[in-house]
Amino acid sequence: MTAQREMTTREPAGGAPLDVEAIRADFPILGRAVRGGNHLIYLDSGATSQKPRVVLDAERDFYTIRNAAAHRGAHLLGEEATDAYENARARIAAFLHAEPGEIIFTKSATEAVNLVAYAMSNAATAGPQAHRFAVGPGDEVLITEAEHHANLVPWQQLCERTGATLRWFGVRPDGRLNLADAGELITSRTKLVAVTHQSNVTGVVPPVAEIAAAAHEQGALVLADGAQSVPHQPVDVTRLGADFLVFSGHKMLGPSGIGVLWGRRELLEAMPPFITGGSMIEVVRMEGSTFLPPPERFEAGVPAAAQAVGLAAACDYLDALGMPEVAAHEAALTAHAIEALSGIGGLRILGPLDTEHRGGAVSFVLDGIHPHDVGQVLDELGIAVRTGHHCAWPLHRALGAQSSTRATFYVYNTHDEVDALADGIRQAQKFFGSESSGAA
């Protein structure tokens, strides 16, 4: 990255613009041809991001020269694999301004949410120190209508298992949370509040710190879903306000198969395990077992060390770009996309039309053309988008959409690609719309 401070018209003030050309050269997949010989325009990073060569190399190097089961074996490779794995933990902790012992590796953000939800139902029988995690009849778990199914279904299930009641914040027509009834929803009955830190549909970034402060006043725990925030904006857990943060590696330039649960140390110390087995135990006897402290308590089985190492390399790559600069780049692309798409007749954007507290997911519905059909035409042009409800069915219902087409942006996307998206949508309208009116 250059230290050049020159601003292009679309870059907001504050940071040097990303050198997108140089970034694109780091991503081998962006060089491939797709349908019809078109070059790839990848606007689906919200589903999974592409991987720079340094991440691929880090994973490959682990397997090539260090591969062994971490935390096992009395041999050199075992030691090196363990060091690589624990260094990755420390690197990811630094990315979030956390302590290494607060970073628990999971296979995904989804598993990380489930880890907390199952720890809470296990708390009923886990002794007095786990008491604050226990929920039952009369207790409430508070979520929002804007959640991805991964931060919704596990809480529904927790309530079904324990007899607790699920409540939720609704969303306003612009996709922002309706916090007007926070006083009624956050009460002494609330045991946990789970809220997205950035919507995967509308891009909305709710005021997590504000919600957390109200929840903490009532003694509730707070979990933030960072699957869409950690890859795209600077996240500092010491300022986030939440007690837990979950995210996945594959959406932030890292490998698939690795996710993270961050939790405040004193909570993790008291929290019972979810998945049990090898490497999380202290002593095992036939009559019963005791468990290691966190993070090991929550990492049963041989860990995904190569994936952790790949994720650490992704953190290096993102920090070299600078997370504020990444966020500014995406804000500029998002503003451009909102402007370009708003000019298309019959198109409605699901979510705010400004970039204030809003990330780079632009979902939309088009009069008379189903998202599958929009996506098909875009695919024909080499443009990869997501279609459907994006694992946020209740949010779509709340916004009056059966499904939508979604473009999401990342470090390698360009303003030309945003224009190509707008052109592609017009072509879809022409393909379906004009033919339709001609036949009518």
Partner: protein, 171 residues
């Protein structure tokens, strides 16, 4: 452009002017099937009548919420099978399923499939196969239920593939 191989004129025509659309009375069975990946829905009713001891599809009525492929498929299906015996319609359904699972390699039998041969291009796009199969799966399910309703027991073949997910057929 490859797009035309999927969106053949016959498909677009059925999408713009769907045949036999809307839910009608009376009916023997009604089902609702959903494609869980995209939320597309079809509600479908089947009315049977007896023709010399053989069940005939007196009416198939439906309402769809979905893409052009799923809407056109419902229209083509209803137009082809209304008035056919359940056995004849089942044979068409099997041929259509074979076509959709062919990844573009099958040579569809137009004498069996009629307008439904137009979906050959869709079979090259795995993500869209479920769209084309949604109403066929709903029809099989509804027919099995209608036969249960009318005759007390349906032939075993009627019970396969009766679910919200077209891929179940492969299990």
């Amino acid at each position: 452009m490859e797009l035309e191989s999927m969106y053949q004129e016959i498909i677009l025509e059925h999408y713009r002017r769907p045949l036999h659309a809307g839910l009608r009375e009376p009916f023997d069975a009604q089902v609702q099937h959903v494609n869980p990946t995209c939320g597309d829905e079809v509600t479908l009713r089947v009315t049977l009548k007896d023709a010399d001891g053989e069940p005939v599809l007196a009416d198939v009525s439906y309402e769809t919420l979905g893409c052009s492929i799923s809407q056109a498929s419902a229209s083509v299906m209803a137009d082809m099978i209304i008035g056919k015996t359940v056995g004849e319609a089942m044979a068409i359904s099997e041929e259509f399923l074979r076509l959709m699972q062919s990844r573009g390699t099958a040579e569809p039998d137009e004498s069996v499939l009629g307008d439904a041969v137009a979906f050959e291009g869709v079979s090259k796009y795995p993500a869209r196969i479920k769209c084309a199969l949604l109403s066929w799966m709903a029809w099989k399910d509804a027919t099995a239920r209608a036969l249960d309703e009318c005759a007390g027991a349906a032939p075993a073949v009627m019970r396969t593939g009766a679910g919200p997910d077209g891929d179940r057929e492969q299990e």
